[in-house]
Assembly symmetry: C2
Homo-oligomer: 421 residues x 2
């Protein structure tokens, strides 16, 4: 039986290809000659399945973005739970688990502890801003936030002690490997999701633009590779080609520039959200989203019908996002491919027809979300400490008397300085 060539209706057509091109060996590769990836009969079916589920995902995604920050966050959390489930199951051994009742529950104990910790940090100030009117609730929330770290640490410690007390002889190695694996998963999953959620609340565009660019890059790498792919790119993923990589890079950078111009026009996408409500957003979007008109150089205006172009400054940042999404982020995918080959896994799961597991789709998103956050914090937010931010801290966190005390002290200090200079 030649599993690699027999076309079937199982969802993992993607895997079968890889198997054919690599595992079945050099013979199949050579017979394809220079048309390494172009001639392939089962490829078209795979293409359709994948295109169909991609469209569904994009549609659902657009609806969620329309609904707003809280819904997007909820989506991130759901994705995160699915990812964690896929990854937890990966190294699970049913035989060993039978002897360890409750051992898998421990994974989820750590998962929810990490969730409380990460989202508590990101969302606590916004939660305070949301519940202000009600005095009792307000006090409850602020004191919970005050002891947030202590609560999370106690929860973690209880898991830690639970783990040690349930260690079973002859299972040590399995249990410790699982413990380490759980921690690795939590780090990977929560790094991704926490940076994503932080981006969302800075303004949906800081989440939507990077995420879209990864999707665009994926789609065009697939399409360009599908129609023009000849030269294999990297041994780790035999289905990836240089043609796909370069075609996708060009498309992604151009898309980034154009998309930023479109997205930058909607307050819904550009305003940061300071609370956890889903109401309409009003804000001064700031200089990044104000149109600037640039005159085009003579030789371009001779060729094209325009004399000048209108650009939002955010588009220049978008170019950086485009470059990163097409050049560095794919390494997230290579990493996942390598990981799957190292541990002889076909896919991380089978949740999305034609795509594999959710984790398979999230590999590059993760690298991108972290980049977007750090880029935004380092190069977009002009000063970490601005007058308005400080003022906001003072007004929301200090009782009135202390605000007055601060005011008096600051006045004194300024007076001294001005006299001194």
């Amino acid at each position: 039986m030649h599993k690699g060539i027999a076309a079937g209706d199982a969802p993992n057509t993607r895997v079968r290809h890889r198997k054919r091109n690599s595992d079945v060996g050099a013979g199949a590769g050579k017979s394809n000659g220079s048309h390494l990836l172009v001639n392939d009969t089962s490829k078209y079916k795979s293409f359709l399945v994948r295109a169909y589920s991609t469209l569904w995902m994009i549609g659902g995604f657009a609806l969620i973005v329309y609904l707003g920050h809280l819904y997007i966050t909820a989506m991130v959390v759901v994705i995160q739970i699915f990812m964690a489930r896929e990854l937890f199951n990966l190294l699970r051994k049913t035989h060993e688990d039978k002897h360890l009742p409750g051992f898998r529950l421990l994974n989820w104990h750590f998962f929810f502890t990490a969730m409380l910790f990460v989202y508590g940090r990101i969302l606590s100030q916004r939660l305070v801003n949301t519940v202000t009117p009600d005095k009792v609730l307000y006090r409850l929330v602020t004191s919970l936030i005050k002891y947030h770290m202590a609560i999370c640490y106690s929860l973690y410690l209880s898991g830690f002690v639970w783990f040690i007390l349930t260690l079973k002889k002859k299972m040590y190695k399995y249990q410790f490997s699982q413990y380490a694996w759980t921690h690795m998963i939590l780090i990977v999953v929560f790094t991704q999701s926490s940076f994503t959620v932080a981006n969302i609340f800075e303004g949906i565009i800081w989440f939507l633009l990077p995420a879209s660019l990864i999707v665009i890059n994926d789609i065009f790498a697939y399409i360009c590779g599908f129609f023009f792919g000849r030269t294999p790119l990297i041994k780790l993923s035999p289905k990836k080609t240089w043609e796909g990589f370069i075609g996708a890079s060009i498309t992604t950078v151009i898309s980034a520039f154009l998309l930023a111009n479109i997205m930058g026009r909607f307050l819904w996408l550009t305003c940061p959200r300071e609370d956890l409500s889903t109401g309409w957003l009003h804000c001064d979007p700031g200089p990044l989203f104000k149109q600037e008109t640039h005159a085009l150089p003579g030789w371009i205006s001779d060729l094209l019908p325009w004399k000048e172009i209108t650009v939002l400054p955010v588009q220049w940042h978008a170019l950086c996002f485009g470059l990163f999404a097409s050049i560095i982020a794919p390494f997230g995918g290579f990493f996942a491919s390598g990981f799957k080959r190292a541990f002889k896994i076909k896919d991380f799961g089978d949740s999305i027809p034609g795509h594999g597991g959710i984790t398979d789709r999230m590999d590059c998103q993760m690298v991108m979300a972290v980049f977007a956050y750090i880029y935004h914090q380092s190069f977009v937010v002009p000063e970490v400490l601005s007058v308005d931010k400080l003022l906001d801290q003072i007004i929301t966190n200090l009782p009135l008397e202390e605000q007055q005390a601060l005011f008096m002290k600051l006045g004194q200090m300024l007076q001294e300085k001005l006299i001194g200079s």
Copy 2:
């Protein structure tokens, strides 16, 4: 050959015992009868070796504490490098490494990236406070700090790409395991050290008291176990006994109460340090370190010659530290024991005669340092945002014009509020 019983002069006497009590099996255990751990000829030699190196360590440690914050931090960094080296070597396979030139360098690349990230975060504000006088250096430092996260992320990404580009066929599994292992080590090592360093700068006492309590608990668990130990405590560490555990707990809680009273009298130990100099410290130590006099209840003052006792409020916090150090922190040790058994390692290293590797001595310290930090932040620092802290932020971070702008705005807002109420 009965390796377990033959007395030798190798440093790992500790391991040999464990081997004897567990691996050699029930027979040896039974012949010892109820005097499970008391009768043992090679034990005395081990005791002397261990006592000798313990004294050396305590002496060196006292000198470093006397020298101050920067020296203690340097010590933490050195310990951390040794720990990382021990742990990196643990799962290293010489045969595989031969085929992967430069692969071990990658570990240290990640190590120094993590170091830059962690210490940059903790110490950046203090670095700014230290270099203020020189204008050029000040600008260099502040702009480096501004892009600190971006720099660290680029370094991390370059390591990530480097890893993927040097993946070698048939080595995938080894390389990915090493990658995961490196990350686990870095998390363990840097969690410990970053919390420790944060504690040091909050006031040396917040580092010294917890660290001392772990040492005291270790020593008294050893001594009490040595002289009275009969009942095994936990299967993971057959040398630990209930007698040692309970004896040590009592001693540790009492020591915590007394030590806090002594340490709380020195400004050198109680003042926080806001810069990176090593000069003398002056501060108002705050209410935690002001003596309070409590009258003793009648029945106690009948028995003892005192009518009242003088207590520093910090001593009540110290009791919590003592309880944690003797009840929860030992689980750090159990965890390390379990880990060593799971992977069939004798000790993490052999740097300290009689103790094993540095990592073997740091297992409980790690759990304790994290606790001390979180406890201090949650229950000792009364408000995360105090008037003085905010004022400090304003003065050091905003240019003069913005300070004035803030002052005016705050004044307006307060006026509106006062009129409103």
